[in-house]
């Protein structure tokens, strides 16, 4: 068989059309929001947290989080004076209905630690996804494409902070979206909206007027598990060294 000049002339445009079809993308559908102008994160002010569980309830309501699973939860730490490295941590039902009274009031210290997805800039969870169903958006939020997710749970294992779970009904990975549907409309997250003491604050690191910049300059702020180089973006003020 020989390819004639005529056949070649048919084949080349066909290939060109196929190529164009592949490369064409859909236009962005968010008119008043430019992703490149934001870099979202959150500040948790430990000395302000009273362990009321408002954030957990608000998150569940806003995002229809199934019972027994949490996109955010609150832990209560008890650190005894002689044993700093072995804190006792409780989080009954994620702290949703508050906490029981403390047992040993005079021994050691107690404090609350709210947790959520750290929206890591170099997140281990997105790196292990075999199908490209989870990713860091250009504005710094780690999301799950639930139409693409297979539910293999590699990401659930990969997250060093335990922030992901397999949704029991949808059977795909689920996690905190940093209320992406709210922050792209100029609102704050449900947990921040419901927090009565301002212990949680949504932060936009690309906004030069965000008070976070002054806060970070003047406070001793930590992230969780910095040794894992995840680029975690949830900043904790006043975090005790015993917190994992």
């Amino acid at each position: 068989m020989k390819i004639t000049r005529r056949q070649m002339l048919v084949l080349l445009p066909a290939a060109a059309i196929a190529w164009e079809h592949v490369m064409a993308g859909t236009p962005e559908a968010a008119p008043n929001y430019t992703m490149s102008e934001h870099w979202w994160s959150m500040l948790i002010d430990i000395p302000k947290c009273i362990g009321c569980g408002n954030c957990v309830r608000a998150c569940k309501e806003e995002n229809d989080v199934p019972d027994g699973f949490f996109r955010t939860w609150v832990e209560r730490y008890h650190v005894e004076d002689e044993d700093m490295t072995n804190p006792t941590v409780i989080s009954p039902d994620g702290g949703k209905e508050g906490f029981p009274p403390v047992e040993k009031e005079d021994e050691g210290k107690y404090f609350f630690v709210p947790k959520l997805c750290n929206h890591c800039a170099d997140s281990p969870c997105t790196q292990v996804c075999p199908v490209g169903a989870t990713f860091v958006t250009p504005d710094g939020v780690v999301l799950v494409d639930q139409k693409y997710c297979l539910g293999c749970a590699y990401c659930v294992q990969a997250c060093p902070y335990g922030c992901r779970y397999i949704h029991p009904q949808k059977e795909v990975a689920d996690k905190c979206t940093l209320c992406y549907h709210r922050i792209t409309k100029g609102l704050t997250t449900a947990c921040c909206e419901a927090c009565p003491t301002g212990a949680r604050q949504l932060v936009d690191l690309k906004n030069p007027n965000d008070p976070i910049h002054e806060f970070l300059r003047t406070h001793a702020v930590q992230i969780l598990k910095p040794q894992m180089a995840t680029g975690a973006k949830v900043y904790y003020n006043g975090l005790d060294g015993s917190v994992r």
């Binding site: 362990g51 309501e61 139409k147 009565p196």
Partner: protein, 157 residues
């Protein structure tokens, strides 16, 4: 043209290769979503899908556009920084169409103690009471107006 003499099998091989290459790209064009790869190795359209999720919390700015009276009481009180929906619950439906949903008044017997019942784990500077001793069973709003809870007669701040 003597060069291509007896080279027909090479052209047949090439034709198969070209056909498979085109078939691959055509099938890929149909199978791979249009927005895949726009920002990275994922479907960019899923960002918009997630951004389109429905709201449940309206946000305190929405509340304050109508409830100016409450906002004015609240802004000078101890609860100035407590957002409306922290106590009243998610009310986006009410904000969209006030007639469609009338919020129920929170029960202070369970609401106030959620934050203000004494616990050694709470920050020491946060106002806390042993509710049973503090109120002797009276509802909190007997003495404290929830939107501005300091006692008017110069009592507890």
């Amino acid at each position: 043209m003597g060069v291509f003499k007896d080279a027909g099998h090479l052209f047949r091989f090439l034709a198969i290769f070209v056909f498979l290459f085109i078939a691959f790209w055509v099938i890929r064009g149909f199978v791979v979503p249009k927005s895949f790869g726009k920002y990275g190795h994922y479907r960019a359209a899923s960002i918009d899908e997630i951004a389109a999720h429905p709201l449940h919390f309206a946000g305190h700015e929405a509340c304050e556009t109508c409830h100016v009276d409450v906002a004015n009481v609240k802004k000078d009180g101890k609860h100035a920084h407590v957002n409306c929906e922290a106590c009243h619950g998610a009310l986006q439906k009410h904000a969209e169409d006030p007639a469609s949903l009338t919020p129920t008044k929170p029960d202070t017997a369970t609401l106030c103690v959620r934050c203000h019942e004494y616990s050694a784990a709470r920050p020491k500077n946060f106002p806390q009471v042993h509710a049973a001793e503090h109120s002797t069973g009276l509802p909190c709003e007997t003495c404290h107006q929830p939107h501005s809870p300091a006692m008017t007669s110069g009592g507890a701040k």
